[in-house]
Symmetry: C2
Subunit: 518 residues, 2 copies
């Protein structure tokens, strides 16, 4: 068999029929549910350059500072010794204050799930993956593109629960059929009843956050005093780049930090738009903004679990439109990972694409994002599955394709061994020149678990593939998410807990819920 | 602007209209035509494991050896001191003979092109990329899948000539409308007249190889004595795994080595089929076979330019079908790169996929292959653009998609700087909180060349994209290859050289050409 000419289907010997495909049932869950990154991070900056970016950000924080729109947040900064100009809402931090905050931020911590085996380690070379967060629209091949609903949100949570390579939940799509004042109740109720993985909460005001925390206590069957001892949930705080932190986000940092819950602080710095056109400049701005958020969290509660988030990409030079999974995006990952390690804080990256459909572009931009994250030492990957269209749609088919890509990366994390049995000299001696290893005892003992079993990838020859409908990977993905949703069974949760959650949602909805700050 | 909610198209400010898109015309050629890999290779094996694989291969070569079907090749092995069993056509090499060969194989060398700026460095961290080699079929969206013709072959060579990220040519598709005895003449004539990049030659017998070498001398205007002083062309030798080297391949090694031309020796070891089911075992077998080819080349001419090729992947466990771009494929890259560095010889990898169409699978398998190659320290990437369907089709759309992926990787190779101007403290100070950098002087000075300009990727918002036909990346790729072919102009070649090439092809065709060994 020859790589260029003779690899025709007819030339490939098929396995003996004694090996039914049903026999191939590997426990992939164990390999995907706890991921530890074996690769040394790539460095694009020298240590001096990392230090220059860090020091430049500190200098900018001292001289220019950040506009913080929340008066309570400014008051906390002032009480901690920051220079606060109330007339311009500007907070200037000296480097001592920042360094004090960094000293108390944990290098690693644990997110508690409802069942201990679902607990998620953040930091220490682990990779925790969350699904897409935030799109207003949902997209699939059968129903097209449409505003998200609560049912769509629930479908995504079911997929998150099903796939072991998703470790924490997310606000996968905005349920626009649920009013804003009660939406947080429904989102949290759905996550807690359809999954036993740690939930995501939006920062939309203290009233909503308090409701969500209360629901988590009910699901875990723990009182508030116990809740604040461990991290059970997380949120994402986006600064309003450049150099502005809005009210809901500032108060979210305080509420989450005080409750000991995980906050990912992510400036969204598009180079050439809300950030300098240079990647180093965009990272400097992002670093400055992240330091403000991290400092606020540590002022609110020293030791609060925070994650240094980066979402630095570039705009399209012709149109100004956001671009993702670009070479600049990947380089920014490498640089941001270095900055996070300089701080000693877990780092969050993303799996993003600007593509409008689950095509080749969506896949190669996702791979550029995933490899960028992994090779930069990513601790938390947000938007790990389902993100499409620059984050404006959550796609069911893209979710499945992303799971395939994530599983392939998870397999790559597994060590490659070279024991004498792996090197297989005896097996090689046992097969004559020009023969094959299909029936070798060495093969027979190992074939069931030797290789990754794909989710969507199709290796049939052209004729077989064409006869089966000539479907692209995106087309095949439809049947996969439908099957998972069709067979979904919610994880066990005490009836009393379910009743308590439902009663809480009903009562608070009746009371009018809670609106985000205007 | 917020990563999860406010990134809606209407919210993104467009660039001032003073920036016409026509102004964006960067000279990408300079960045893509010479690639040097900046990344430290990933190691999956310990030094001991690498040594164990190498020593195991040497032991197997001594005890079991390799079947070499060519009598002249066996004679050369015997003359060099190998143990040759003519009754079984088996050649057993002791490790001293192999080590002597490795000592003369060059670590780096130069492939000469018709114009010096097209010369290609092999080794020394450079990455040389070739297109797909060998498919019998051609595939595009307009004409479907069909047997390759000479016109198709010429089209692929035109694309190779056009894109600077393709550095050396390839046997992109089999022109089945040209008889085998003259096919080599037409393939070489087409490469030499449509491109000034180093050509590819199939190993199909000494007669054909001599013709191809003669044509190259005519194109370069050099005599045979000059030709053998430098490498001007290359071939790929596939062993007939396991442990067999066929006649055409063995004689190709000798002919190319004696003429000082580059030979890539690539065992095609599919774990679980023609090789052990373990990746370490498949690599051990591949290593053993490559050493036989390298040794034969160095026996034929010490110092002959050889490349250690690896094409180790796995079969699908259910069907036995070949799989590519899998996690096992990527791991095998990492291990093979280590083995090549142990030998001190340039290493060849591939960009491969089992997908039958240019969809998401084809892209994520390609990315797994490209990243695997790059992170393993690949010196020559074969099948860099256009490979589809496990190598059974050359796809015009996949060619374009691959070029996009290769260009993105090439951009990633460019250093990321963090000078004070890059860090951009002044620019950050110059933009108010919540403002934007579109009109910043720092942006205005740099925006033209700040970011990669994509070839196929579409960053338009959903509405614009839908209005333009809602095309996938593969669909958009069609217009791109058609435009390149429509506007193609062959590089300058002396009229006398063209006439000499054409006359040679006519004469040799009239004489009956040359058939491959049966």
């Amino acid at each position: 068999m020859d790589e260029t000419q003779d690899a025709r289907p007819g030339r490939v010997r098929r396995r003996p029929s004694a090996r039914p495909s049903a026999a191939i049932d590997i426990d992939a869950g164990a390999r995907y549910s706890k991921l530890r990154n074996p690769f040394d991070p790539i460095r694009v900056f020298s240590d001096d350059e990392v230090e220059n970016i860090h020091v430049s950000a500190l200098s900018l924080l001292e001289s220019a500072g950040m506009r913080v729109l929340s008066a309570p947040a400014r008051a906390r900064f002032a009480a901690a010794g920051a220079d606060v100009d109330e007339s311009t809402q500007t907070v200037r931090l000296d480097r001592g204050l920042v360094e004090t905050a960094l000293a108390t931020a944990p290098r690693t911590f644990e997110l508690q799930a409802r069942v201990p085996r679902r607990n998620v380690t953040i930091g220490d070379r682990h990779l925790a993956i969350a699904p897409v967060v935030g799109p207003p629209n949902v997209l699939d091949r059968e129903r097209g593109r449409r505003p998200g609903t609560l049912k769509d949100f629930c479908d995504f949570i079911k997929l998150c629960q099903h796939y072991p390579s998703i470790h924490i939940l997310g606000g996968c799509v905005e349920p626009q059929d649920v009013a804003l004042n009660v939406r947080h109740l429904e989102l949290t109720h759905a996550q807690l009843t359809l999954s036993d993985k740690p939930p995501f909460i939006f920062c939309r005001g203290s009233g909503q956050i308090a409701d969500c925390f209360a629901l988590i206590c009910l699901a875990h069957g723990i009182p508030q005093e116990e809740f604040v001892k461990h991290a059970y949930a997380y949120t994402v705080v986006n600064t309003n780049s450049p150099r502005q932190l809005d009210t809901a986000m500032a108060e979210g940092i305080i509420d989450f930090a005080q409750a000991g819950q995980m906050v990912i602080i992510t400036p969204f710095t598009l180079a050439g738009a809300m950030a300098p056109v240079t990647i180093a400049g965009a990272l400097t701005l992002a670093h400055l903004e992240a330091l403000v958020g991290i400092t606020l969290a540590q002022i609110a509660r020293p030791g609060a679990p925070v994650v240094y988030g980066t979402f630095t990409s570039n705009v399209d030079m012709k149109s100004g439109a956001p671009a993702f999974g670009t070479p600049e995006f990947t380089k920014a990952c490498f640089g941001a990972g270095q900055l996070a390690r300089r701080l000693g804080i877990p780092w969050r990256s993303s799996n993003a694409t600007a593509s409008n459909c689950p095509d080749a572009q969506s896949a190669y931009e996702a791979e550029m994002s995933i490899w960028g994250a992994v090779l930069a030492g990513c601790d938390v990957m947000l938007h790990g599955a389902g993100w499409l269209e620059g984050g404006l749609s959550a796609s069911l088919e893209k979710f499945v394709l992303d799971i395939e890509m994530l599983q392939m990366m998870a397999e790559l994390f597994q060590p490659l061994t070279a024991t004498p049995e792996d090197i297989a000299s005896e097996a090689i001696l046992g097969v004559d020149p020009g023969g094959h290893f299909f029936a070798s005892p060495h093969t027979m003992q190992r074939y069931r678990t030797a290789f990754y079993t794909p989710l969507v990838s199709d290796r049939r020859n052209y004729g077989q593939w064409e006869a089966a409908g000539a479907m692209s990977a995106a087309e095949r993905a439809t049947a996969i998410w439908k099957k998972v949703l069709g067979e979904f069974e919610a994880p066990v949760l005490d009836t009393s807990a379910v009743e308590a959650l439902t009663a809480y949602v009903q009562r608070r909805s009746h009371e009018g819920g809670a609106l985000p700050p205007s």
